[in-house]
Amino acid sequence: MIHSLFLVNSSGDIFLEKHWKSVVSRSVCDYFFEAQERASEPENVPPVIPTPHHYLINVFRHKIFFVAVIQTEVPPLFVIEFLHRVVDTFQDYFGVCSEAAIKDNVVVVYELLEEMLDNGFPLATESNILKELIKPPTILRTVVNTITGSTNVGEQLPTGQLSVVPWRRTGVKYTNNEAYFDVVEEIDAIIDKSGSTITAEIQGVIDACVKLTGMPDLTLSFMNPRLLDDVSFHPCVRFKRWEAERILSFIPPDGNFRLLSYHVSSQNLVAIPVYVKHNITFREGSSQGRFELTLGPKQTMGKAVESVLVSSQMPRGVLNVNLTPSQGTYTFDPVTKLLSWDVGKINPQKLPSLKGSMSLQTGASKPDENPTFNIQFKIQQLAISGLKVNRLDMYGEKYKPFKGIKYMTKAGKFQVRT
């Protein structure tokens, strides 16, 4: 399936290659570079590139292209999904997935890739299994290793791979047994010029951090499970139990994992927590434009809107801006024309605003389109859909775990057209 993998950095150097079958010359990447040149942005490089003898499937993350070489028909999503898993694993192991981190840990990377694929077919992609096979490098371990000469490779053989619950390590032990669940909801919305909502939907995830001894069997139930319209589970969740009772029942993996992602049914009206008032005008013939932007809270259920960040791609004709924010700071990059305004917390008594003028290229005609604003924000202790966890129970183990549930609402792809 997957023949080879090349890692290409943003300046177009191949800094790592790995082959699972016979060696494919790295000249195959020339086709990729061609496509990369043709695309204006790295995001625009087509994910699938055919070449005379191979097919290149690439993903772009953390400014690195992961280029997989394929020789025969294979579902492209299969490869893409796998590459993303590779990136996730690197991130999990090294904290960041950057060129430097990969170069520093080239041996671990190689060992990981070796375990993840056999003859191009995924073998072990579960992070818990991999961590048993190859221990993640930490500073302490590196020091210990250099002194004692012990290795990163796990001494005992991974039994998880053979068990009924391959995602959980065996023999887990903690002194403090705790299970935390974060319900994080994101609002995707497009707001039009006049402030009315064109489309808005809520997507949510439940991320868990479970540190429990032994083989606990957890159940999690909701007050209002009907809100969940479409769900996808971590493989540990028992699907039939959900179908029948709308209860999440599972033996959790050890550590951090995403238990559930869901979509709130579109029948429910989505509360939009912020509004934007804007007045952006370019006058024909003049080299000045006016810029006014005011943010305000709306339908926040009494919670504060925090970490607000507004960013916008200004039209090409804009040379520079001269603005005054009532709070926070703004930056404008004259090359990329990217304006971003770090607002911080919205105070309902004193609404944040950004006002001033824009200077345009002289002679150029006025831009066709006003810029679109992308807004990010966070609201703590609120799941905007109203989803509530009812209770969490543990079976199978004797001790009493500490349980915690946190709610948060964030902006997803939240856009305001002007």
């Binding site: 150097d13 299969f78 792809k413």
Partner: protein, 854 residues
Amino acid sequence: MSMNNLSYNDQGGPDSAVEVGQETTPTSSTTGAAFGLFSTDFKKNDDLKEMLESNKESMKLEAMKRIVGLIAKGKNASELFPAVVKNVASKNLELKKLVYVYLVRYAEEQQDLALLSISTFQRALKDSNQLIRASALRVLSSVRVPIIVPIMMLAIKEAATDLSPYVRKTAAHAIQKLYSLDPDQKEHLIDVIEKLLRDKSTLVAGSVVMAFEEVCPDRIDLIHKNFRKLCNLLVDVEEWGQVVIINMLTRYARTQFTSPWKGDAIFEGSMAHAFYDSDEERKAHSNSEPYIMDPDHRLLLRSTKPLLQSRNTAVVMSVAQLYWHLAPKHEVSIVTKSLVRLLRSHREVQYIVLQNIATMSIQKKSMFEPYMKSFYVRSTDATHIKILKLEILTNLANEANISTILREFQTYVKSQDKVFAAATVQAIGRCATNITEVTDTCLNGLVLLLSNRDETVVAESVVVIKKLLQTQPTQHSDIIKHMAKLFDNITVPMARASILWLIGEYCEHVPKIAPDVLRKMAKSFTTEEDIVKLQIVNLAAKLYLTNSKQTKLLTQYILNLGKYDQNYDIRDRTRFIRQLIVPNEKSGALAKYARRILLAPKPAPVLESAFKDRDRFQLGTLSHTLNAKAVGYLELSDWQTVAPDQSVRNVEVVEQSKEWVPSSAKESVKSGDKFYSDEEGDEGSPCNSTEDGKSTSSSEASTSETESEEESSSQSGSGSEESEESSSHSHSDSSKKKKLQQKKTKNKGSDSDEEDDCAKVGVSSPTHSSEDSSSSSSDDGTSHSESDSGGHQEKWSKAKPKRWCKKQKMRSRCWIWMTSPLIHGYPQSPVCSLQACCQIWMGSLCPVPLLLYR
């Protein structure tokens, strides 16, 4: 020295040189860098060798780590092979692993030396630890050295019968490796695949199906007996295996089932129940209804559905394509929600999913209409994502939602991304042709766009307007006039050519403007692009024919210019036009028809989706994404017109009793409980029922085999009797058969009379059944020998039968009786007919199904 030099040339390419240069001395000149590096590298390699040969474990490890670093950078480290290979038997696990990495990378180049390591692996293959056995097989099979093919073959065969499912999984992977190394081993490998396909471990299923797909995807007959097992195991298989199995089953289903799309699609839910209940009811259905879904077909759909909830996007996509290709039309839409969910994922995932949705949305708008807003474009999307979304929105447009879509398009046209804006213009054009109500609105909108500042948008608008006007030219002379006015400001060649063509085509509607445009063009002819020149020549010819008084001289002038043009196309066209329109003694009969040739009414172009013919490829495949057949793409066959014999999937004992040695039977027990219990036990109970019943499973599984064994023989007995009585009118005989069996039950004291079910079905005593079956087999001359199975029966008949396996047997019998079209021609018992069918499948009697499949 020279060796190193060689190695550098090997990797060659400016890439590596540059990279290397950066690493050492980025400032120095290229040659200097190469030289400096060359010496350092030489030194490096030198001390590596020393380190590897040292006695210290940590030194060796350090050396190996550096070597792996070299390999990762794509540098050649092959000359260290002898030194590295010595460490293959090291006790240090990490060192060993790194040596494996090295070995797999270079063994192909250093075959002789690689042989040194083989014996280590051979020893490890016999290790008591399953994981060591597995990893030894893994490396052994990854070493691409042709000489060891026989050793690999042997190792694979052995591993395929290993007690550990993990080792068997590794064996399945090794099959593909061996096949790519030596395709001549195909026949032997197929045997191993056949054996592994029967494996009931979830660990093995995905890998062996992968091997099947790679080695012998056309041997669909190997799947029959494992079909139901695969369906039932599917949920528990690891996610990558699920993708492979689902794709394989999609192909399989197309060759085995009839289309659910034809005729009146009856609602299936109730059917499935009726089916299992009783023979009579089932029969009534088969007579009255034109289409009944094969229960196995239903099973496949039912067992894949939960996987739509998978977190793995590839799994969701493969289920979606399975439903698209196999499910009755009204059921396909259950995949919509999940596909739309995938759009939240990474950019690359979106790209593939949107492509597939685009193909689907052409054929089935209704699937995605409720989710139209999910396809609205955001300014942060990548361009190819935007264009795909646009495509889908256009496909979804209908009378009801067109106004919303057009309003949305208005925003897009103003986008800063000009490629996208141009694509939007095209999309508007498509909406205008598809939905007649809005044609005028769209046209007016497009005309407004002609005064847009961006020339690509203007050009695209002109081209689209041209296409639209062709559909209804008469009412729109003012638009043509407007375009003629704009002509001077438009610089994009394609747009200019389009306007010229429009004026020429409809010159009669704009009699005053056309000659003036031609005049201007005559002036600028030499500076135009080729495509515009061709249209100028065309315009001149058309005007000459309609309005020769005003344009005769102009035309001649243009034709003269064209005659000496640099481009041969234009010279050619000019020569042709001259002969056609200017009558002289040489010009033949064609000149008479010049008017009809040039001014023939031309059909309007159809604006259609780029995804229109994508559905010739299976969805979700690489070929679909590329819109071209990828290497190794397996066509999805058409539905069968006549359902192939369903009974081929029924029993797995007929064959097993011959080959399946008791030890492996024991193995199969492990997951035996999952096999059918899913259908019955699990429905009510929570899904973690895998734990319960495990204790009893061993007896269950063995009884199931006993049961079916006895069953089949008893059936064959009754069947043969029947065939003597009546010349087998198969379909009407079910009740008679039942009676016969009941009679039998009375005759023989069954050993399993604790349950009513059993009594009804009838379990014959081993001796009798074997007699019966042997006689029947001699009657019809099937090759199946029952003598040894008799022995098994004796042994097994002591085991207690269970209700579920009984039921299962009932079902399988029903299937044979009710649905087998072949049975009519074969006056024997169901089981005999089953065997016969198998034979037919092998291609001896009736090669048609096989051919169809290919």
